[in-house]
């Protein structure tokens, strides 16, 4: 049963890696990759924690939520990629303009 916490921690790690990459990278394609990794981290935490059922079959409700989540993630990814391509067609760039902090 220890693998529940092992995978939960891996999920936490994936979420943080994704968050870090999302902030650091300017390239929009990399930001989309980063959001997908963050999502995978959240799914992993949910499904790992669904196994805490006194050793019986895991809770199917988080499983169904994650399947829903995977489909929503690909919808969002496809829309984000289309927007990225549009930004590229309009400006020739693959990153958003930086706002100056000063």
């Amino acid at each position: 049963m220890n693998n529940i916490y092992l995978y939960t921690l891996v999920g936490v790690g994936l979420f943080s890696l994704g968050l870090y990459a999302l902030i650091v990278h300017a390239h929009l394609l990399r930001k989309i990759l980063a959001i997908n990794v963050m999502g995978s981290g959240v799914f992993l935490i949910l499904v790992a924690l669904a196994n805490r059922t006194y050793g019986t079959a895991p809770d199917p409700v988080p499983h169904a939520m994650v399947i829903t989540g995977i489909v929503v993630a690909i919808s969002a990814t496809a829309l984000a990629l289309a927007l990225t391509l549009r930004v590229h067609t309009e400006t020739g760039r693959v990153e958003l303009p930086e706002e100056s902090l000063e």
């Binding site: 990278h25 992993l44 829903t68 489909v71 690909i74 919808s75 391509l85």
Partner: protein, 316 residues
């Protein structure tokens, strides 16, 4: 027994670290093509992880959608960007200011440790809703608990999820027509494989749809396989006649959602709540909704890959 447990622990640990390493490589590799390929590998290992966590339904969805279709979408976008500037570009703030690096590292560490603390202090056993799901599985019309949750207990979620898929497609269509493809030849291997692969994909999709009632599988897994078949057609440059691209395409795309809503509303006319199936009809109604959903999901996913509204030239 002990040796097997130890072996499993070693395997889980290796898998966990490989996942983290692949994610890191995918997010930091200077070459974007390499990054995307690593991300696809990451998705396949995620599918393996779902099996280890007793979630075969998610493993199927992840392998088909998470790794397969997302990878195809990313690679196709990369090809269209023709990006020479794919080297890692940091945001300006991070590049120039050490203070930002410091703040960012502290933020990441704080988020990681906060999350780790909160998940580790959760109570050790918490069956959640699983007891109720299993107690009422007889009335749900199916015997696979995940399908029961998706199509019966939480039918609203699935209804809204299909709306999200539709809205994403509408968003893409509103951005313009299908981008002009480069004249690239798919190559002999793909040409030979497609007549073999597509019938197989359709058959497996049908099986998954049918099996979803009592075993891992269901509308989304089946739909994504149909979507994959559609993408293969698009890759070799098969054109569907323009007469199918207008109203027929739109009807096919909205068919799943429309039937779902129609069933819900029809049930209300018989005095039930929206989407409250009578248990004698539940199995058939769920299969009907799933069959329509599979078709619509498959065509929608292929249309997402196409990346624009068919029949509309992109202005340049």
């Amino acid at each position: 027994m002990e040796a097997i447990t130890l072996l499993q622990l070693i395997f889980d640990t290796l898998l966990g670290f490989t996942l983290l390493w692949l994610a890191w490589q995918a997010l930091s590799s200077p070459d974007l093509f390499r990054a995307i390929v690593l991300f696809i590998a990451f998705g396949l290992l995620m599918a393996l992880t779902w099996v280890r966590l007793n979630a075969p339904d998610i493993a199927l969805a992840e392998a088909a959608i998470g790794a397969g279709l997302t990878g195809a979408l990313l690679l196709s976008a990369l090809a269209r960007l023709k990006a020479k500037n794919s080297a890692t570009i940091m945001t300006e703030q991070v590049k120039n200011k050490p203070l930002f690096w410091l703040l960012l590292t502290m933020l990441s560490l704080a988020v990681t440790s906060g999350l780790a603390f909160s998940v580790l202090t959760l109570q050790e056993n918490s069956p959640g809703l699983s007891i109720w799901v299993l107690e009422n599985i007889e009335t749900s019309g199916v015997s696979n608990p995940v399908t029961a949750v998706l199509l019966n207990y939480r039918g609203y979620d699935t209804l809204l999820e299909m709306s999200v898929l539709l809205v994403a497609l509408l968003g893409i269509w509103s951005l313009g027509g299908v981008p002009k493809r480069h004249d690239s030849f798919p190559g002999q291997i793909l040409n030979i494989l497609i007549p073999l692969l597509v019938p197989l994909l359709i058959m497996v999709a049908g099986y998954l749809l049918w099996a979803g009632a009592h075993a891992p599988g269901g509308a989304f897994q089946a739909g994504s396989l149909l979507g994959a078949a559609g993408i293969l057609f698009l890759l070799v440059g098969w054109q569907f006649g323009t007469q199918f691209m207008g109203l027929p395409l739109r009807i096919m795309i909205t068919f799943g959602l429309a039937l779902f809503i129609a069933v819900g509303v029809a049930l209300m006319l018989f005095g039930n709540q929206f989407l409250e199936y009578p248990s004698s009809l539940a199995g058939s109604l769920i299969f009907l909704i799933e069959a329509a959903a599979t078709l619509s999901i498959g065509i929608t996913l292929a249309a997402l890959f196409l990346g624009g509204r068919p029949g509309l030239r992109r202005h340049k």
